[in-house]
Symmetry: C2
Subunit: 138 residues, 2 copies
Amino acid sequence: MKNGWRLHAQLADDTHPLASFALCELRLMDDANYPWLVLVPRIADAVELIDLDAAQRHALTDEIDRASRALREVFRPDKLNVAALGNLVPQLHVHAIARFRDDPAWPRPVWGTAAARRYSEEALIERVARLQTALRAL
Amino acid sequence: MKNGWRLHAQLADDTHPLASFALCELRLMDDANYPWLVLVPRIADAVELIDLDAAQRHALTDEIDRASRALREVFRPDKLNVAALGNLVPQLHVHAIARFRDDPAWPRPVWGTAAARRYSEEALIERVARLQTALRAL
């Protein structure tokens, strides 16, 4: 929690912790419709990608790469979607989502399409474990 | 056009050239609803961000930063949206979009909401010129 950074309450509600990278907290979105990760740089008051300096944005893209490779390894998706939007939650965060041609939103982006479907406790534990194993093996 | 790279026909149809960066072609989306840039790395067969090596993804994020700063300089948006989706056009490309609270899609993402509104020739020339001036000044 350096520099007074705190995870935004909405992100804390919607996601579960997966890993702490050098720059970002890696979280799992609590929506069983899609394997959906969120990276949140621990930089107080960062809103836009352009709020990062060069070293920070290189670190962020390296961590997006790592998270995306874990998604590919575990889920073998048809496509990866990576996005920094933040129209609703102002704290800078980056989505990395494994997409499938038969998922509820395909080929549209996931935001604002299907209502979130929360994981069961059992499914959540299993998904977190698989992703953490894949992250450690990268 | 090194390595046999060619701009995808759909991107060629939908966008206009703005600048050639070291890695990417920077293009303006022909949709007057939003100031909307597209960066296309000149890497043959790249589909996902994870198809890039570390040097390429650092260069890409530096060029996204530059394009985003030009958007901010010219348009003073309420929010920037940056995304690599590619569910419809497989060639790797990154969107950088200036968003406003009164734009046709706010707060949703822009894809699949309002139908594209093509620029008039006059408006297109003016917009390209303003962006190119801002890019040169960065």
